[in-house]
Amino acid sequence: MYRTIRLFIIICLSCFLFTGPETAECREPWRIHTEEIWNIGGEDSDLIIQWVGLAVDQEGCIFLTDRMDYSLKKFSPDGDLLARTGRRGQGPDEFLDPCQVSCLGDRIYVSDIQKPGLSVYDKRLNYLGQIMIPHAVFSLQVMDFNTIWISSMMHTDRPMMMAFDSLGTLKQSLFPHFSLKKSFIEMTSFQWQDPDTVHVVFHWSGRTCRFHRDGRLLWENRELEKRKPETTVINDIQVPVGIALKNIQTDPYGHLFVLGGSEMPNPGRDIFVMDKNGKICGQFTLEESSHMILIDEKGYLYSRGDMGMSLIKHRLDYPDAMLPAERRY
């Protein structure tokens, strides 16, 4: 008898602990609105030609790579140009196709799609040197000075993410939990939530996942997955035609924002909002198509306008259900 009562109490406590606010807060769809704070650049300006990579530091300064200008640019939190560096070429402080950017402390790390490795700058955009990484970098996040996570093109037996130290030595590889078809490629974008957990989106298959640092799959959302991706063959490799998901970002409250790709009803504009367990709880649509989104530490959302000629900063207007109790009105 006592055993049954104890079991009942344990089950009740477990339910109380593990079905807390996260599921409760997502009972109704979250309605998120965005408000444009500023929009810099544009077709009548030569400030930005086509930006690709974006990072925001703790002070709110913005670092972006301008692919067609072969440059790295720094803007103030209000959108004023503070510094610019780079030119076309393969030498120091030169780019062929600057792509991803990540900042950590006083260092800015920049990748180039056509050159392996990362260029390193200080916050005034003085060139400091190169970290030799033997892969083209498609997604980048520097966790600490000795842990640089990248993703590159994935094939059947290639990892989805790799970590390198500051000397360019491979420290760790993370492999996906599913097998890619032979002669099929995939690309990923990721964001580390904390030193132990990372969120990953698979661009072409459309899976969204959370992994532990040791490679364990913690959860997976396949609601946005393309069951039968349309493909074309280039050099004997099957290349998907449309992109299901573009990238993933976490806001200061731990919600996930996933930008939909060309396969979604509004290509490059639909943003799906998930709770910490990977359940889609809301959706909103940007006014202009963007190749990526970024949410900074203060919760501002950045996206692209005018096909990369402008950068837009938005304020996110959350419904009460998404906010922690102390921030609700």
Binding site: E43, D44, M68, S71
Partner: protein
């Protein structure tokens, strides 16, 4: 070859637009006439392909350093190949990219795709001398082709 008249029309129109309104000036004050000019034709799909652009830029760089040679770079598209991107955005980005690449070229965009038939096999270099079309080459140029082009420009000028 029915597209050549379109090309001539486009080039003439561009020259007219860039030259602005004719002024009443004496013959002595007219700018010197360039005897040789080169035109590089690039499709929008090649423009979006980073590796194709690198190959294109190699040729462009060698023409860029050629003293006295006036070079035009034409980006060719149509409503489909711009993939829904407004023409004014493509124009602004192309002009900015030519400048950022350090090329001292006139940047033009053929948004209606008049010249599409001329670039079926990839980017093309055309050399004009004294107002007449003389020769054309497909890009990328081999080192031998490049020597021939340079020799040709030197002789024509």
């Amino acid at each position: 070859m029915d597209c050549w008249w379109k090309f001539w029309w486009l080039l003439t129109m561009c020259c007219t637009l860039l030259a602005g309104q004719p002024k009443k000036t004496s013959r002595k004050s007219l700018p010197p006439v360039r005897t040789v000019c080169a035109v590089l034709l690039l499709s929008y799909s090649d423009y979006l392909c980073p590796l194709c652009l690198q190959s294109f830029l190699q040729t462009a760089d060698s023409l860029n350093s050629w003293p006295g040679l006036q070079t035009w770079c034409v980006l060719i598209g149509d409503s489909e190949t711009f993939m829904g991107i407004p023409a004014q955005i493509v124009r602004a980005q192309f002009k900015g990219w030519i400048a950022a690449s350090g090329l001292n070229f006139q940047a033009l965009v053929d948004e209606k795709g008049f010249l599409n038939t001329m670039i079926r096999d990839g980017p093309v270099l055309i050399v004009f001398s004294k107002g007449s079309f003389i020769r054309h080459w497909s890009l990328p140029l081999s080192p031998n082709d490049l020597k021939t082009v340079k020799k040709f420009i030197k002789q024509s000028g």
